[in-house]
Symmetry: C2
Subunit: 408 residues, 2 copies
């Protein structure tokens, strides 16, 4: 965490313990630093697991392992290495993953398929097995740690620790959900994005958990972008220990399933927003709402075209209500749009409609809105009822400083 804390940072929340979840951290020293960089989370037997992973065609061996292990639907452990992504490392990378899962399965006397792994950091350097083994052995005998310690240990270029919590009532049983997440750059949609872990004591069938997580993902991690760059390692896993005392949720028709799905979606949205708030160099949190597109999918693509436009993002960094650049981004999206039907709002104030700027629109509230740190840009396409919302941050000198200096 060598960069200044994001001005959009949120304080670390109070988080409840989740029955059946025991996190520990240790020093593997993947990089030349004095911090915990190996996380080991032990999960109670029978924990259900669901996950979504990157759509990258060049995924890391950790991602490939998780995809395969998810078929077994049960988890006993999660191991996260920070500082080395182990991506694009061929057979040596795969061997490192096998060593990690074998070591943990021996320790816990469980199947290797119940061990989930992630790694994040530099691409192209195989995870050093000696360091990973040293870290694991230290973690096995460490005291259980706090959520804050776990969140710090999974971070790399993150400037603040990101976590969220919510709860749901299943019948008269309250279940807790906790999520921790890391990510700041190489953040783009159409995938699971970043490393995020959700823990709950709810009792829920794995297939249902997967269904709920996939739906929540589409409305949260699938709707954020920092820099349009999709990582090789993105993974979000949800673990449900089933320690809460309620009847198992088996289908969306089970009593309480709706409440749990809503809580999970809310948690994912909170976590996704935190990642945008820690976007590299971010000084503004930007919500882009598109309405009136020919379909929700079309609206989503237009919203992302706006959110990924360097010219829109720099204009907002400069606190400039440059709606012309929004027009440009709508126009380049490749989706149906008609200039003369388009209208654009900043902070709720319509600045352009029907192909022309609004004569004499009140600039004062727009200017004031743009000087704030929470920016709302709305574009109505005027063709249909498709709608979508995405979140991004502005593009500032900070992004360049972070990424032109980051060395492999």
């Amino acid at each position: 965490m060598t960069h200044p804390v994001s001005p959009l940072a949120r304080p670390f929340p109070d988080l409840p313990a989740i029955s059946g979840v025991t996190p520990r951290v240790a020093r593997a020293r993947y990089k030349d630093w004095d911090r915990c960089d190996l996380s080991f989370v032990e999960l109670a037997p029978g924990t259900a697991v669901a996950g979504v992973t990157t759509t990258s065609k060049c995924p890391s061996p950790e991602v490939e392992w998780c995809r395969s292990a998810l078929h077994q639907e049960r988890a006993r452990a999660l191991v996260v290495s920070a500082g080395n992504a182990n991506a694009f490392t061929g057979g040596r990378g795969r061997a490192a993953v096998e060593m990690v899962v074998n070591t943990v399965s021996t320790q816990l006397n469980c199947s290797v398929d119940e061990v989930f792994v992630s790694a994040t950091g530099v691409i192209g350097v195989p995870l050093p097995q000696d360091k990973a083994r040293t870290g694991l052995e230290a973690a096995f005998i460490a005291e259980p740690c706090s959520w804050r310690d776990l969140t710090d240990a999974i971070g790399t270029t993150d400037t603040f620790a990101k976590a969220a919590t919510t709860s749901a009532m299943i019948g008269d049983c309250r279940v807790e959900l906790v999520g921790v997440i890391k990510g700041s750059g190489m953040i783009a949609p159409d995938m699971a994005t970043m490393l995020g872990y959700i823990f709950t004591d709810a009792a829920i069938a794995p297939a249902l958990l997967q269904q709920m997580l996939s739906a929540a993902n589409r409305q949260s991690f699938g709707c954020i972008t920092v820099d349009s760059d999709t990582s090789t390692s993105d993974t979000v896993l949800a673990f449900a220990t089933g320690q809460a005392q309620h009847a198992l949720l088996e289908t969306m028709g089970s009593p309480g399933a709706d409440a749990f799905a809503a809580a999970l979606a809310d948690l994912c949205r909170q976590l996704a927003h935190l990642v945008v708030r820690d976007g590299e160099g971010a000084s503004k949190f930007i919500e882009i709402r598109v309405t009136g597109a020919v379909s929700d999918e079309s609206a989503h693509r237009i919203a992302l075209s706006i959110a990924n436009s360097p010219l829109v993002k720099t204009a907002i960094a400069g606190e400039d209500a440059n709606w012309g650049r929004v027009v440009m981004a709508v126009g380049k999206a490749g989706e149906p749009a008609e200039r003369d039907l388009l209208s654009i709002r900043f902070g709720g104030v319509e600045v352009a409609a029907q192909g022309v700027v609004i004569e004499g629109y009140d600039e004062a509230p727009v200017t004031a809105h743009l000087k704030g740190s929470e920016i709302l840009v709305e574009a109505d396409i005027g063709l249909g009822s498709g709608r979508a919302t995405v979140w991004t941050c502005d593009l500032t000198h900070g992004y360049i400083s972070i990424n032109a200096d980051y060395r492999s």
Copy 2:
């Protein structure tokens, strides 16, 4: 031209006169500046014209006018306004275009469809008719100007004047080609891109000129990107006055047509490269070559994914051989790719192959290459014979400074 001259700038070349082409410039004062910002190029009767325009769904009225006028295949005049793009200005923008073409057609006693128009600058403000009329009237009585004066007059945020020339032999008749171009930001492929004008004294049927221009465009302007943002106003027009003394080129089978098409393609490539060299904030000119893709189209999309990646562009700005980011960009392109078949070169030196970094590759020449200003990145996908080359520039603090400060 308030920003420092690009370190990648090229000197303005010596350009020959083109028989039948008479440029003049004047002050319309579209902005509060003391420079020529209205260009009026008179073309000999019978001049053939071809053009390609932006694929934006929100094109400017000038683009719409040119698309329509191109059907007539003949041009007598070109008018370019700099400082105001007249885009997204509804009926008032269209009225301004009509005033301009009516004024010129009266002056030259030609059809309005023989008058081609462009405008570049701020989006969303209707072109002020009084300023345009004043500028036109001054241009009508001005002395003919140099190519350099014309190039300066069409520029906006350009940091250097961009033009190129070549020639072709048609039989034993030498024909000349001159191109002038403006553009620095809001540059992305899949369209005609920017404002560029090509003049030749060759005698060529308009349909053939269009065929050649479209082909040249695909290999030049269609292969560059500065910031992935597609303008509302991009236009490239080619004017052939037919003053050279050779038999009319009517089809690609006409003697000399091959030579002319090759010269036109060369000119377009020169002009496209000049735009990248003036990319906002650029410090490195980057060529991305992709080979081994499943098709040329797939290779093109992968190359653009690399060229548009903020993380690749900032790594090169930082002179970092961060091939992991190239892997990331290949992976996110959505095209067939197999991590374990991929190989990557910087400056001709293979740094990664078959899913792993090359052990002990010679870093010295790679480091030296990256310290230069002409960077070559090659990615072989290992799946087929599809290939493509695109050109871009790096992403630096200069881009942020230019675009976070640019005010409407």
